[in-house]
Each structure stands twice: as C-alpha cells, then as structure tokens.
C-alpha cells in the first residue's frame, strides 16, 4: 500500500430506541477511520497524485471494513459518506486529493452500485477533534429518510503530520423518518438523484 497507516478504527452504532419508541430492526451505521502519515506535511507539494492513489486504496479498505462490520452483503448498504481531517502540518487540499479524485470508484464497488454523489466533509484538526461525516442515500441523493451524519473522534489523531480518513456506511436511514420526500422504496437509482 502507498498509504502508511498508523491506526484503523471501526465503530458501529445501533439505535434500538428513539423518542421512547422501539426501533425494530435497529438502524445501524458503521464508520471506519484510517490514521495515515501525511507525505506532504510541512511542505507545499504541487502534484498530489500520491494522495489521490492513497484515496483509492482507502476507499476500498475502509468501505470494505464498514460493510464487514455491519455484517451485510454489499448490495444491502443503503447510505454512505466520507470525510478527512488533516493534521496541522498539512493542508486542506491534501484531504481533497484523498477524497475526491479516486476514492469513489473503489468505495462504490464495496457497496455495490452507488449511483449518488458520496457526501463529504473535510477540515484541519488536532488530536481528539470531532469529525462529522455526512451521510446520504447511495443510489438516490434525494431520499429524505437517509440524510444523516455520524461523528468520529480519535483521542490521539490526527497528529500534525497525519491525516485521519473516514468512510461511513449504513444499512438503514434515520430511526423514525417521517418528514416525507422521496422514499427508499421509491428510489429508481438511475441518475443518482431520485
């Protein structure tokens, strides 16, 4: 691997009750995080292709870990998201290079299909800082029940010369969706929107 990984964290959240009501089956979200060395910490690097390749590696690796942690078939994934937090010796653009050019295709392979844009966020941060990973339906971005997000934080990351990269995958929407809009069951999943 081109990525030098120091740590991987995988977290699964299950919601069994919300607003006093039982959720059957529980809604579940997984997030997998890799803490990697930032090869360009402390420098201005014009060509970011190494980070783009690292993005492809991590899309596959972290997407796979999420699906594995949920114990589902790839086709049963319903929503996804991706985020990165760059340590202070790096640059916001390093996160962009990991997330945007090459991460999508291998991630989509892990969740099967994935016609929709993968929602994303990025920021610079310090060890222990919170990263909010946005979530959206993987095949139809307008499915309203699946707009969500999941928070990640790791006490010792990202150090100054590190990048924390997160991929989140769910097998469900919010626990008690009732604000209308396009439903999961109605999504066509052709144009990525509806």
């Amino acid at each position: 691997m081109k990525a030098q990984i120091r740590k991987i964290m995988v977290t699964v959240e299950e919601t069994h009750r919300e607003a006093g009501r039982g959720i059957v089956p529980p809604t579940r979200k997984a997030v997998a995080v890799a803490v990697i060395t930032n090869p360009y910490a402390g420098t201005y690097q014009e060509d970011l292709s190494l980070l783009m390749d690292i993005g492809a590696e991590l899309g596959e690796l972290l997407g796979h870990k999420c699906v594995q942690a949920l114990g589902i078939k790839p086709a049963d994934a319903q929503s996804y998201g991706k985020s990165a937090m760059v340590g202070e010796a790096g640059e916001l653009e390093h996160a962009a290079a990991i997330l945007h050019p090459k991460m999508g295709a291998p991630l989509r392979k892990e969740v099967e299909k994935g016609a929709a844009l993968v929602p994303s966020s990025k920021k610079m941060g310090s060890p222990g800082q919170v990263l909010d990973v946005p979530l959206g339906h993987k095949d139809a971005a307008y499915v309203r029940s699946h707009f969500d997000g999941i928070e990640v934080q790791i006490n010792d990351a990202p150090r100054a010369a590190e990048i924390m990269v997160a991929v989140a995958v769910t097998d469900s929407g919010r626990p008690l969706p009732r604000v209308g809009g396009l439903l999961h069951s109605e999504a066509e999943g052709k144009d990525g929107l509806r």
Binding site: A19, M52, H100, P101, K123, P134, G149, G181, G192
Partner: protein, 193 residues
Amino acid sequence: MPEIALRKIVTSVEEIFHEGGPPVATPPRRAAIMAIIHNPFAGQYAPDIQPFMEDLKPLGLAMAAKLLGLLGGAEQIEGYGKGAIIGAAGELEHGALWHAPGGYAMRELLGDARAIVPSTKKVGGVGARLDVPITHINASYVRSHFDSMEVGCNDAPRSDELAFILVMSTGARVHARAGGLAAKDIKGEDGLR
C-alpha cells in the same frame, strides 16, 4: 401551529488569504448563520411534525438574506450547505424538518441554483459543533468547491432547542488543484455536472 421562538442568531464570516501556497488576489470567503429556536416537540414524541416546516420558511428566508448580505449579494455565491443541531430533549427527526425550508430559502434568493444542498445533522449538547458540508450551487461534482465549515455556539443548543444552520461560500478552496470538474465547465442541466 407552533410559533417560532427565536433565542439567538450567530453569524460568522471567514476570509482565506492563503494556506501555505501563494496568496490569492481575491480571497475566498465563507459565512455561516445559525438560528437557535425553541423545539416545540422537545420531550415528547409528536407523530405529525411536518406542518412545522411551513412555519420555518420565513425564518429560513431571513437567514438566507442575512447571509447574502454578509457575502455581498447573490452574484457572489458559488457554494452552499445546511445543517442542524438538535438539543438533547429533541430527536434527530426534528432536525430533518430543516431540509425543505432551509434549501428553499437559499434557492429562492439565489435564483437558479440547481444542485442539491449538501447537509448534515446531529443531536448535540450545549457547545456542540457541526461540520456543515459545502458544494457548488449549480453542479454537485465541481471538485474545487467541495468544502465545509465548522459551526457552533458555546451556549446552544440547550436540551429543548434546535439550532438551524445555513452556510454559503464565494469560491473554490484557496489552493484548489485536485482536478475534476471545473466550475467553468459546468453544463448546469442536472445539478450534478
């Protein structure tokens, strides 16, 4: 119909001159506005919450107008996003009420914005912060405009409150060079490319 009980408005504007690379001639800016209101559904399970979306529309419009004022008008705006933090006596679903009025408000004032408004939401305690995603207003895949802005307020949301957020940006990331679809190449037909 529950009334909107507004406790606080928080605005924030960032101007970014450089980030380690060459300083740019026109620094990109981003702005956020957060409205903290009473959550009429706090502490209970209300099955029928959709009428509140209609009540939120005027608030959304006022917030979007204020953001435009902070950034110099609709013609300056190239990116947008929205979010919600729900106080602990509320429910994630209450934040989802913001999808329609928040998006409507920005699109109403921006005219022909075609892209879906990226969003995130969570339940949080007092001082919770939210990373609100930002994408290009006309084509979600414009890579230079993928960004986000962290928003929070030290005394909100209290447990029976909702914090609704809108963000806008005036341009690309300051040293954008990750390739992909460029803003100048947008077709602008489907909101994606």
